[in-house]
Chain length 155, copies 2
DNA sequence: TAAATATTGGACTATAATGCTAATTATTAA
DNA sequence: TTAATAATTAGCATTATAGTCCAATATTTA
């Protein structure tokens, strides 16, 4: 874990808000001239602190207005079963996130679909996945806070 | 919902993968010359399909190696209680996502903390929030698939 | 088919990225 | 505290990119 000074923190916060800031704009915001600013950004990228830049899309505009959390249990908990299941999950494009979690479920998925019909299709796909024993769904009614910037502390 | 042709879909997919592609690079990838490519990107931004660009950071590098889903129930379900609770959630920087969900919980939060100690601190803050009755936590053991690109269909 | 509309490609200007060097700042050791 | 060293920064020059304008092409519609 690389030490971040106050300027690095400002850079990271600015790029979390707007990943397409030009280096000149970024340098202004963090009170630095362009070249050292660029040097710091490159170092943050090389250090793996900045892992990439993504355009954020509005799922509703893309016909993906329904978001669902799907909790899933497997019938077998050996490595082979997990690997097979996870490989299948990676192929399902409507599954945006998938975590192995503690608690009553094994996996928690976050899924984007158009509507209940789309959800039904996906549910059937999930039920057919290898080693799936149990599925429970929670629908997102409203998003209160989404993809908030990470809290960064200088170190 | 604006109609997207095949070129728009390619643009959106390319920018989901890399939001800092130069317009020239993007134009090459979608087999278009620079100026119409730029025009399309601007239209996608103005239409609200592209909502922004963000740098992706590695939480582990920032001392936020622990991710937890927190399910939360309120004691009262009137508007005032919800509003007060949601306002408080917006102020908690370790809460990255917060959704109103169906099912046994009212709200589902996604939380980033350094470790169990950090989690304990946050848990106490959540318990002190107005109208909170019940809290249940699920720890993320491993991320199988994270922030996968949205599946986009031409229309 | 022909007219109208939308989209594209290319030239040009303004702006930004990037590498280099000198100067400044911070750090270490005496 | 001062001097020496190392790290970081600012400014400048060069190259690349963004963004605008207009003519040409493709598409749509009657």
């Amino acid at each position: 874990m690389i030490a971040l000074d106050a300027i690095d923190v400002r850079i990271l916060n600015a790029l979390q808000k707007n990943g397409r800031l030009t280096n000149v704009e970024l340098a202004e915001q963090v009170s630095l001239s362009a070249s050292p600013c660029l040097r710091r950004v490159r170092l943050l990228e090389e250090a793996g602190i900045i892992t990439g830049y993504r355009a954020q899309l509005d799922p509703a505009c893309l016909g993906l207005g329904m978001s669902v959390f799907v909790d899933l249990r497997l019938s077998h908990h050996n490595d082979a079963a997990s690997d097979e299941f996870e490989a299948a999950i990676l192929r399902l494009n409507n599954v945006i996130n998938c975590y192995l979690v503690s608690g009553s479920a094994d996996y928690r998925l976050e899924v984007l679909v158009k509507d209940l019909q789309g959800y039904e299709v996906l549910l059937r796909q999930l039920q057919c996945l290898p080693h799936v024993k149990d599925i429970q769904s929670n629908f997102v009614i409203r998003s209160v806070k989404a993809q908030a910037p990470m809290p960064i502390a200088a170190s």
